[in-house]
């Protein structure tokens, strides 16, 4: 029996524009096993983020089907997809996307509370300690450096032991040294929790740390590489 956690078949995305239609993503298929890590690489505008959005259930494809952890996303409405995200999916974004009005602690507690976890507070504290921010629990995002904010985002992403983690340019807004530390932390946590990882990046070094890479160009899947 296949251990597929994420599978996409004939996935495409077309959006209407003034001149007619614009194809953001030409039909492609892929399959990801539990515990795998996949890097999606490509130049700007190649369709990387579009593909990530579709795979994570943030958007719906124009054609094709996506099955995430046994659930076909297209058959679910937005609230049901939100519930899937709350239970099984973690996110890390390029611009951290922390909620400004919540402290670091509360930002990490957020997905735990959304999942109804009673130990949200204690678990969030452990995670922040794990990412080296034990002293920064009550700080607001604006009181933290970029690297620290991304660590909070990592702690938040792994808070619910997600089956799959989507990371969109996780080191894109950081200097190379800080970026390096963040990617180390990302892969460490990934290993510890056995999470499946889907990563969008420009950074070839980061991409090489994944089990598989796919390259997109102008919405076409060019190559699938297994290093």
């Amino acid at each position: 029996m296949s251990n597929s956690i994420l599978s996409a078949q004939d996935l495409s995305k077309v959006v209407p524009v003034a001149e007619g239609e614009l194809t953001l993503l030409h039909p492609l298929s892929l399959d990801l096993q539990a515990g795998d890590s996949l890097a999606i690489v490509g130049s700007s505008g190649s369709g990387k983020s579009t593909l990530l959005g579709l795979l994570a259930g943030l958007d719906l494809p124009s054609q094709g089907r996506i099955v995430l952890d046994g659930l076909e996303l297209a058959t679910l409405d937005e609230d049901q997809r939100a519930a899937v995200r709350a239970e099984r999916v973690g996110f890390v974004f390029q611009s951290f996307q922390l909620i400004d009005s919540l402290s670091a602690w509360e930002n990490v507690m957020l997905p735990l509370e959304l999942a109804g976890r009673r130990d949200a507070r204690a678990h969030a504290q452990q995670l922040l300690e794990r990412v080296g921010l034990a002293q920064r629990l009550r700080h607001l995002p604006r009181q933290l450096s970029g690297g620290e904010q991304q660590r909070v985002a990592l702690a938040r992403a792994f808070a619910c032991n997600p089956a799959i983690l989507f990371a969109d340019e996780p080191t894109g807004n950081l200097d190379s040294q800080t970026g390096e530390r963040i990617s180390d932390l990302l892969f460490e946590l990934n290993r510890e929790q056995g999470t499946t990882l889907v990563l969008v990046t420009h950074d070839e070094r980061l991409a090489h740390r994944c089990h598989r890479q796919i390259r997109l160009e102008a919405g076409h899947l060019l190559a699938s590489v297994e290093p």
Binding site: S49, L52, G53, A56, L58, D59, E78, D79, A82, A83, V84, R85, A86, E87, V89, F91, F93, Q94, S95, Q97, L98, I99, D100, S101, L102, E106, L110, P111, E113, L114, A115, L140, R156, D168, E169, G172
Partner: protein, 830 residues
């Protein structure tokens, strides 16, 4: 860059950004500000015209030129050249004689088309049905019933007027231009102007009042007023509806003040909305500004560029707003159709121009400060996005806003004391209550840590940024405060009118009650179920000297002062200050320096005759002279339908003189039959009906009250505008938060709950601020401006609830996009 190129760049950039949310919000705020201001402007201008038209009835014309000598030919020609309708009257006192007796009367000679506004009313015999219209024909005389009674005659009898005999044909019951002066002491006789010469009464030196009545379009009347006023002779004066009658004049000026105040509130609220959206407009253009600086534009040019955009946007919104305002007022007039006169006078485009000017001034005062920041953006921002421009000095922002408000206040010619009390009180309330709220929010922060997720999400923003939250609560509080104060004033205004004309306001005056009839008359009134005011002793007398100087030499060309010395005044005495009177100087009939008995003088008359405390006044009363010293000045509520007096003497000064009593009473319309037995029982008592003027006043006040209520709607619209602008200002942040939460798997319900909690708390805090602010402002207003005893207003407790509902509703609507924020946008922003 040359100016035309800059202009074209500014306009094309604005055009490209026309769909940007902040451009739209700025546009809408201004559009609503100008349309509210114009609607109020057009509506109140037309309503005032309509009310003036009705009030003109009390003058029998739109404008009256009155003098002790006939108007000059040039003055008459001017009016006729302007196409005004003209009528004349000549009024003089004369002793009339019948076969049975003699009586001094105030004779008025009139000819068609008098009266130019309103109608005479008369009856063919006593207590017969009143008929409107008509005029005494040559050879005829119409007399008030009390005159006929004094002369012992009925219609059909002959009366001598000077050298001729006329026939009493009808009993005069209502004379439009005497309505405001209905308790004049001498009874009226009306004759035809063509009989005047034959009476030979009017001789050089006679006391005569010539009146020229004018009626026509508002423009022509105004032109006549402007052309005639500078050349008025010392004995002449011009009277219009505003100055002609104290009751109507008072009601009109109060209504005008209220409407203007509401207009100011609408503009102030719109100003806040403009400030909020302009601030967002500016913040979102920091990048553009930095980029243009990189491309080589100078700081000055950047400022010019955005000022051109602001002006273009302002002009477009203002013009459209003026058009909408005009349409809005038409809708309002349509709604009030049944209550307004059928033909409302047109008011020209002045309200539109004034509305546009107010809009642009508001824009300059409230939007310029954030926009000036744009010129200060460093070009380095293209590399470092966190670089913020140095903000424009706070004093400049405030000075511009205050200057804008000052200009608008000047335009609305608002009472500066009232406005300052409101603005000052509002500012003080903001600072005081804002600080309290800030402290309260800070202390709530600890509690939040243990709250549930929806509470933390909802209130996190408020409690983590108490300063910003306080600002927001104060902006929303200002809406409720403005609406509360306007509502409060409306209540006071309506109560005031209600008190002035309660349903049981006296509708009859009884004069000439002899001392021996006093008890019997009161009992008779009680028997008929009439509600009577106290009886005042009355002695007719004339003021002849002030500090031993003949009063004729002292009189200013003022209507009241002049009228007061040209006729007998009703003099009375009282031990206590009469109800509705208020001492403004001195003590009530206290001891005087000279040891002379004291007299209390009505303060406006004192001002006109330059009478001061301690002055000695000499009166000629029934052939005797009496000297008294002014011991106090009094304000009199002329709006009340109760006997009022210019001079109230200390008891004991006039007791020995022949006196009668005067009172007013209310008799329900259904019981008017009771008048006949009353007049039979007391034949010497003169009964005067004032129902007509009461009804006329009531109908004017009903119109104004309705207008006042509708004006509240405009203030509400402006308030909602602030609310939406305020929400827009935080929308970006909310959308981002909504998208993150959705991406992390939050349900829409959770977002909705959090939002509702936030808005409910914000609305409740705003409501509490507004409630306390309202009480503070009303206290200042009552205490320092309106001189009304202040009492707490329990209904204001509803404001926090109203605030919670209003802000929750508007907040949910204004930020509904947050619920539907696509979680995908978190990737796009990356």
């Amino acid at each position: 860059m040359r100016t035309p190129a800059l202009l074209s760049l500014a306009l094309s950039l604005l055009w490209r950004e026309r769909s940007a949310a902040e451009v739209r919000t700025l546009f809408w705020s201004l559009l609503i500000a100008v349309s509210a201001s114009c609607s109020i402007g057009f509506f109140s201008a037309r309503l005032q015209e309509a009310m003036v038209l009705r009030a003109s009835e009390f003058l029998a014309a739109d404008l009256v030129l009155s003098g002790s000598q006939p108007a000059s030919v040039a003055q008459i020609d001017k009016g006729q050249a302007l196409g005004l309708q003209h009528a004349q009257s000549v009024e003089f006192p004369s002793m009339l004689a019948s076969a049975q007796g003699l009586q001094l009367a105030s004779v008025k000679a009139v000819a068609a088309p008098y009266p130019l506004r309103g109608e005479l009313k008369s009856t063919p015999r006593r207590f017969a049905e009143e008929q409107a219209g008509g005029l005494p024909q040559p050879g005829e005389l119409w007399a008030e019933a009390r005159l006929a009674q004094a002369l012992g005659i009925e219609p059909g009898a002959r009366i001598e007027v000077g050298a001729i005999e006329l026939t009493l044909t009808r009993l005069l019951t209502y004379e439009p231009d005497r309505a405001g002066d209905f308790y004049s002491l001498t009874p009226r006789a009306l004759i035809n102007l063509s009989d005047l010469a034959a009476t030979q009464v009017v001789q050089p030196g006679s006391r005569v009042r010539y009146r020229d009545y004018w009626r026509g379009s508002a423009e022509a009347v105004l032109a006549y007023r402007q052309q005639t006023k500078p050349g008025l002779a010392a004995h002449q004066q011009l009277l219009d509806a505003r100055g002609g009658n104290t009751q109507v004049g008072g009601a009109l000026s109060r209504a005008e003040r209220y409407l203007n105040l509401a207009s100011l509130a609408a503009l102030l609220l719109a100003g806040v909305a403009v400030a909020l959206s302009a601030s967002r407009f500016a913040t979102r253009r920091y990048d553009t500004s930095a980029l243009l600086r990189c491309f080589g534009l100078q700081r000055r040019q950047i400022t010019q560029l955005f000022c051109i955009q602001l002006l273009a946007l302002g002009l477009f919104a203002s013009l459209l707003g003026a058009l909408l305002g005009w349409l809005g007022h038409l809708g309002l007039l349509h709604l009030l159709g049944g209550l307004l006169p059928e033909e409302l006078p047109a008011v020209g485009w002045l309200p539109a121009l004034a509305g546009i000017a107010s809009g642009l001034i508001t824009l300059a005062g409230f939007a310029l400060p954030p926009l000036l920041n744009l010129g200060r953006v460093s070009p380095l921002r293209v590399l470092r996005r966190d670089l913020q421009p140095l903000p424009v000095a706070a004093w400049l922002s405030y000075a511009l806003a205050i200057a804008a408000l000052g200009l608008i206040m000047w335009r609305l010619s608002l009472d500066w004391r009232l406005t300052l009390a409101l603005l000052g009180g509002g500012l003080f309330a903001c600072l005081l209550l804002g600080s309290l709220l800030w402290l309260a929010l800070r202390s709530l922060r600890r509690i939040l840590e243990n709250a549930t997720l929806s509470w933390r999400l909802g209130l996190g923003q408020l409690l983590r940024h108490p300063l910003a939250a306080t600002g927001q609560a104060m902006a929303f509080g200002l809406i409720l405060l403005a609406m509360g104060v306007i509502g409060l004033l409306r209540g006071e205004l309506l109560d005031n009118w209600q008190n002035q004309l309660p349903s049981d306001a006296p509708n009859h005056f009884a004069m000439n009650i002899l001392p021996e009839q006093r008890q019997a008359f009161v009992s008779a009134l009680e028997q008929q179920g009439a509600q009577s005011q106290p009886l005042f002793p009355l002695v007719p007398g004339r003021l002849i000297a002030i500090n031993q100087q003949a009063v004729q030499q002292l009189v200013s060309k003022d209507s009241q002062g002049e009228r007061a010395i040209q006729r007998d005044l009703g003099l009375t005495w009282a031990g206590d200050l009469p109800a509705g009177n208020k001492l403004t100087a001195g003590t009530w009939l206290g001891t005087t320096r000279s040891g002379l008995p004291g007299v209390s003088v009505e303060s406006k008359l004192a001002e006109n005759l330059k009478i001061q405390l301690g002055d000695r006044l000499t009166f000629s009363i029934a052939g005797q002279t009496r000297e008294v010293e002014v011991s106090s000045l009094r304000e009199v509520d002329w709006d009340s339908f109760q006997p009022n007096f210019y001079m109230v003497f200390a008891p004991g000064v006039l007791d020995d003189l022949p006196l009668t009593y005067l009172t007013s009473f209310h008799l329900p319309k259904s019981q008017e039959d009771a008048l006949l037995p009353l007049s039979r029982q007391f034949p010497s008592v003169t009964l005067l009906q004032v129902d007509a003027i009461l009804e006329q006043l009531r109908s004017i006040l009903a119109q104004v009250s309705l207008a006042v209520e509708y004006v509240l709607l405009f203030v509400l619209a402006a308030g909602l505008c602030v609310l939406f602008a305020g929400l827009q200002a935080t929308l970006d942040e909310r959308l981002k938060q909504g998208a993150i939460l959705r991406a992390l798997g939050s349900s829409r319900r959770l977002l909705q709950q959090a939002r509702l909690r936030e808005f409910a708390l914000l609305g409740t805090s705003s409501g509490i601020l507004a409630m306390l602010g309202c009480e503070l402002v009303s206290y200042l207003l009552y205490h320092f401006v309106l001189d009304i005893a202040w009492q707490p207003h329990p209904w204001l407790l509803l404001l926090p609830l109203a605030g919670a509902l209003l802000v929750s509703l508007a907040g949910s609507l204004g930020t509904r996009r947050v619920i539907h924020a696509s979680p995908l946008s978190v990737l796009r922003e990356s």
